[in-house]
């Protein structure tokens, strides 16, 4: 069964023959604002039971006792799943066949390795009964001391960071570069643990039918989730059907299937009935990933003209005690600033937390706030304007590798954003600007960058005898606008008006669209769609050009154009015919074509591929209280071809607001004794509210990139957070003269 969605609302604009580049409003917007969009937890199959997790309140030790009798005696409780009766799995949840297979806590034993780890699941007729059943378990523990904080355990150099890059890298001689420098700076910055906090909690509704599984759950990577589940249960992937039409945000935490989601499947297996399991907000602080804390030290040397002679970036971070993910923060120094000597290194500790995972520009965001702060310090040490300093150290080739950039319109980003912001009148020294009300005013900037990644994706295109088209790919819409942007690419790929195209996505029985992550979904699945469209059009052209009855006879495949539901001769556009005519004549009800999206290995070797941007921030700081407000943000970004400027601008706004959040708000406050997070709720885990971002502007800088992919698409999802966080920090320094060295910046840091 595929998901049928009514996404054919009229776009409110005039088009000129192409859907790509048009600022269409979200095609799923109407469903969302009317509440008709069905999220995972909105499903309710007949006979469904509710499953609630019981989670650990200790960070380390073992569960010594659970009062299962009490839970079972509670009215409505059907079953309690513990390590003793949990159905068998075909694979060990602690096995790690490849680096992207993260270890899961699936009640494999009584050990506790972090707070909020699942220790039992209570299944009941109602949510209330299951919740009370979980409370009645009243666990007793054998407690071991928790290892908390970056100094909480012995450090080591991890084998790989991020997706497996080397922990230590260098080019040139950093020490010599520092020695020869005229000016040097060294500074250490700390960033806290952060949690994804998507609005929609991880939720799963599961129904088993023999050995086939029907699942509603939010997923940023349907095929990967399908494969992981199939492996754990020893069933064929095609027996696992996952629907994920909408995600209420993911930010990386829904990239992999998480332990609690699999526990929902196990619970349904155990009771032989459909089950719904939804995480409570506080239960999202542990088993679904987070961003690890970092402590980063940067050393820079500059010659008499303000040119970098050396750049050294060291990051200390943390992973869990039982799995590996290391925030690659120092790698942010590989791509932005030219320097004859660059060294990046990481070390880490193992703490009693859930395993950190990809979160909102993993490595790039954390590294960026430290790097952009240090660059600001370096500019100041050289007596230079921060923009001038950045231009002086502009990288014409990728500094770490020496590769040319596939495209890089960063100079234009700097120029447009600086002009719009009014940067030119900025005084060099800090604490010189006051507004009419006496608030300290500061201006800061940061450079944004994010790699233009591509993964693997497939799509299937169909043209029908009635002249309409169908495009299918299992793409995932996390709110970024996949339903709309991919439909636009599909329309152009099929040479049809967008309203003539059925676009299907969000289901695992469709072709594998890869992962909605790494800001690479539009490029990857977009290319699959584009190629599938080209393939089916080629078949259609074959039918026409090979048939004497067609006005296109003899034109050859290369000699025809597809547009508006018709094929034309390239050399004589007065000669053409409609898709419907071609298919009807051939006696075919429909034809199909397939396409793939993947990075091109040759251009991968040759070029460094990144999106770029420049962000300027104005902050006001109360001189007596240290309370900060970001009164203005202007960003300009160059990210290749823009499929839909309205959606892209929204992505930039969102990214920039996350940047403000990084600099000023987000922090998981961890009790240093218990390891428990003290603000595991959205009242006290702060992110910006509307009043914190009164003015945000995103400029789209034109950029043609012939190398990234045929459509010229880079990613826009995560870049906004980079650059912005540093820009805000630098603006705070410029306002107050106090250099923020730990984030989020606190009132007491500025009280003076």
């Amino acid at each position: 069964m595929t998901l049928e969605l009514s996404l054919n609302q009229q776009p409110a604009h005039a088009r000129q023959g192409s859907s790509i580049g048009q600022p269409l409003t979200r095609r799923d917007g109407f469903l969302k604002v009317t509440g008709a969009a069905r999220y995972a937890a909105d499903n309710h199959p007949p006979g469904m039971l509710y499953a609630v997790l019981a989670v650990s309140s200790i960070a380390r030790g073992r569960v010594a006792a659970l009062d299962i009798e009490a839970a079972k005696a509670h009215q409505g409780v059907v079953e309690v799943m513990t390590p003793k009766n949990r159905p068998a799995l075909a694979a060990d949840p602690d096995a790690k066949d490849h680096p992207f297979m993260f270890r899961l806590d699936l009640l494999q034993n009584d050990q506790v390795r972090y707070p909020n780890q699942s220790i039992a699941v209570v299944i009941a007729e109602t949510l209330e009964a299951a919740t009370e059943g979980a409370a009645l378990l009243s666990p007793r523990y054998e407690v071991l001391p928790a290892r908390v904080g970056l100094d909480g355990a012995e450090s080591f150099v991890p084998r790989g960071v991020g997706v497996g890059g080397p922990a230590v890298q260098h080019k040139g001689d950093v020490e010599a570069g520092l020695k020869s420098a005229k000016t040097r700076i060294e500074a250490t910055y700390e960033t806290p643990a952060q949690y994804h906090n998507a609005m929609e909690p991880h939720a799963i509704v599961v129904a088993w039918d023999g050995d086939t599984l029907s699942i509603d759950t939010p997923s940023q990577g349907l095929a990967m989730a399908q494969g992981r589940i199939a492996g754990l249960f020893g069933i064929a992937p095609e027996n696992v059907h996952i629907r994920s039409p909408f995600l209420g945000g993911g930010f990386g935490s829904k990239g992999m299937i998480s332990g609690p989601q699999v526990l929902g499947i196990l619970a349904a297996r155990l009771v032989g009935r459909p089950v719904k399991l939804v995480l409570r907000r506080e239960q999202m602080y542990g088993p679904v990933g987070h961003r690890a804390p970092t402590r980063q030290t940067l050393r820079m040397g500059m010659d008499g003209e303000g040119r970098l002679t050396a750049l050294d970036h060291h990051a200390k971070t943390a992973s869990s005690t039982f799995d590996d993910f290391f925030e690659p923060a120092a790698d942010a120094s590989h791509t932005l600033y030219a320097s004859p000597a660059i060294a990046t290194s990481h070390d880490a500790v193992r703490l009693d937390t859930g395993t950190p995972l990809f979160m909102r520009a993993p490595g790039e965001a954390t590294g960026s706030i430290a790097l952009e702060s240090a660059i600001d310090e370096a500019a100041h040490a050289c007596g230079m304007d921060p923009l001038e300093f950045r231009l002086r150290n502009y990288a014409e080739v990728e500094p770490m590798t020496g590769k040319p950039f596939s495209s890089k319109a960063l100079r234009e980003c700097y120029r447009q954003a600086a002009e719009t912001f009014g940067w030119a009148s900025r005084p060099l020294q800090p604490r010189l600007m006051r507004d009419a009300d006496g608030f300290l005013t500061g201006w800061g900037m940061g450079t944004a960058t994010f790699p233009a990644l591509m993964f693997q994706a497939e799509a299937r295109a169909v043209l029908r005898a009635d002249g309409s088209g169908l495009m299918e790919t299992g793409a995932q819409d996390m709110g970024q606008g996949a339903w709309t942007a991919f439909a636009q690419i599909a329309a152009d790929g099929l040479g049809l008006d967008i309203d003539q195209v059925d676009f299907r996505a969000g289901s695992s029985d469709l072709p594998n669209a890869g992962i909605a992550g790494g800001s690479g979904h539009t490029a990857t699945a977009g290319m699959a769609i584009h190629n599938a469209g080209a393939a089916v059009i080629a078949r259609l052209a074959d039918l026409a050009t090979g048939n004497e009855a067609s006005p296109l006879f003899g034109a050859g495949n290369e000699g025809v154009l597809a547009r508006g539901g018709r094929l034309y001769r390239r050399d004589d556009e007065s000669r053409g015919e409609s898709y419907a005519e071609i298919l009807t004549r051939a006696g075919l009800s429909e034809i199909e074509g397939h396409g793939k999206g993947a990075p091109d290995p040759a251009s991968q070797e040759t070029y460094a591929k990144h999106a770029h941007g420049a962000v300027f921030a104005e902050v006001k700081v109360d001189p007596d209280f240290g309370q900060i407000r970001v009164t203005r943000l202007v960003g300009a970004f160059a990210a290749g071809r823009i499929i839909n400027p309205r959606l892209v601008r929204s992505q930039y706004y969102g990214g920039m607001i996350w940047g403000v959040s990084f600099a000023l708000n987000e922090e998981a406050i961890t009790d240093r004794r218990s390891g428990r997070i003290q603000n595991a709720n959205l009242a006290e885990y702060h992110v910006p509210v509307n009043a914190d971002v009164p003015s945000v502007e995103a400029l789209l800088v034109h950029e043609d990139d012939p190398h990234v992919n045929a459509l010229g698409i880079k990613g826009v999802g995560e870049i906004g957070i980079t650059g912005t966080a540093g820009a805000v920090a630098n603006a705070v320094w410029h306002a107050t003269g106090v250099r923020p060295r730990r984030f989020p910046i606190r009132i007491e840091d500025l009280l003076g």
Binding site: T131, D435, D437, F439, F625, Q627, D692
Partner: protein, 352 residues
């Protein structure tokens, strides 16, 4: 959530009779109580839903010039009542600086007074907390306590009372009208909340079954309307509890302070009336020097209970600014960012 009885009494006496049974709790807006129940911090056996008792929903002018605010009047309704906001602008400003629009639409006058502390160890049932479980100990003492109390705390408890609304109310001599088994009584708001001492679990003057029926403001409270402000420093521009806040109200005549009211929020287990500071202000010249001495007096007994020494200096500065703003005069219109230090800068377009 534990099973509980749900009772919706039709009259105040019925409500009091129902709630006098042990293990009962009144339900008003539910914005605090339901969170506490879901988190297992409190587990009442019987919920007495007072939210539909009509006689608690009125704002009445009294013959003596005072005002009587029914316990069920919603925070938003009170703040947006034009006559109320005109007479008690600092109270309206405090109300609108609290929580979010959605919460203010649900939260009631009585519930706001009785909201529990935001101390994270109080909410974390795996932690030791004397307030939640008398005698258990206090994990905040050596824990994450940068936002805890600097006045009136004890080794048994260092938590603060989070209400904004209560701060100008206590400054203006508000009185809590309580109905219980033994009839009606009046307790000043200043005496209503208790400091922790050895018994932090005893948070206020209520006895089992006691119902707050109204909050009264005496006639004199309106005499400050031209010079009354509330100022709240917080960690984001809106939708955050106070780090420290202050309500200041003055009557100034010929440069001399004829009457002064000052209270602090976020510093103690109760809204903190700064009477010694008021004594410094009374009769003095209304200027920054006087305000600075008042701030010194207000914080004279303050001491950090943890990593929160900064709050003492911050509180001094907030007192001075709140007094300066009060002296400058109540603004014609309520600011778009109520009680914010940024209430008058450009770009302050949104009230989240």
């Amino acid at each position: 959530m534990r099973d509980f009885d749900y009772i919706r009494p039709a009259t105040i006496p019925d409500a009091i009779a129902a709630a006098a049974e042990p293990g009962s709790a009144y339900l008003a807006g539910g914005t605090n109580l339901l969170d506490l129940m879901k988190g297992g911090i409190t587990s009442p056996e019987r919920i007495v839903d007072i939210s539909r008792l009509p006689e608690l929903n009125r704002i009445e002018r009294l013959d003596d010039g005072g005002l009587r605010i029914g316990a069920l009047v919603r925070n938003a309704d009170l703040a947006y009542d034009p006559a109320f906001a005109k007479s008690y602008p600092a109270v309206a400003e405090a109300l609108l600086s609290g929580a979010s629009a959605q919460l203010r639409n649900a939260a009631t006058v009585g519930g706001n007074l009785l909201q529990r502390t935001r101390c994270s160890y109080f909410y974390d049932t795996a932690s030791a907390c004397n307030r939640r479980e008398p005698g258990a100990g206090c994990d905040a003492l050596e824990g994450e306590n940068r936002l805890h109390a600097v006045l009136g705390w004890s080794d048994a408890c260092i938590a603060t009372h989070p209400s904004d609304f209560c701060v100008p109310l206590v400054a203006l001599d508000a009185v809590v009208e309580i109905e219980g088994k033994k009839g009606r009584r009046h307790v000043t708001l200043e005496e209503f909340h208790r400091l922790p001492g050895e018994t932090p679990q005893r948070e206020n003057a209520l006895e089992p079954g006691d119902l707050i029926v109204a909050v009264r403001l005496p006639a004199e409270a309106a005499s400050f309307s031209a010079n009354a402000r509330y100022l709240k420093v917080r960690e984001r521009t809106s939708y955050a509890f106070a780090v420290v806040s202050a309500a200041a109200a003055l009557v100034v005549d010929g440069g001399k302070i004829r009457a002064a009211r000052l209270a602090l929020g976020g510093v103690a287990a109760k809204p903190w009336r700064a009477r010694t500071a008021e004594a410094v202000l009374l009769g003095a010249n209304a200027n920054e020097v006087t305000f600075a001495s008042a701030a010194e007096a207000a914080l004279a007994d303050a001491s950090p209970s943890g990593d929160n020494a900064f709050k003492i200096e911050l509180a001094r500065r907030i007192v001075v600014r709140a007094l300066m703003s009060a002296q400058a005069g109540t603004p014609e219109r309520l600011p778009a960012l109520p009680a914010s230090p940024f209430s008058n800068i450009p770009g302050a377009r949104h009230d989240a």
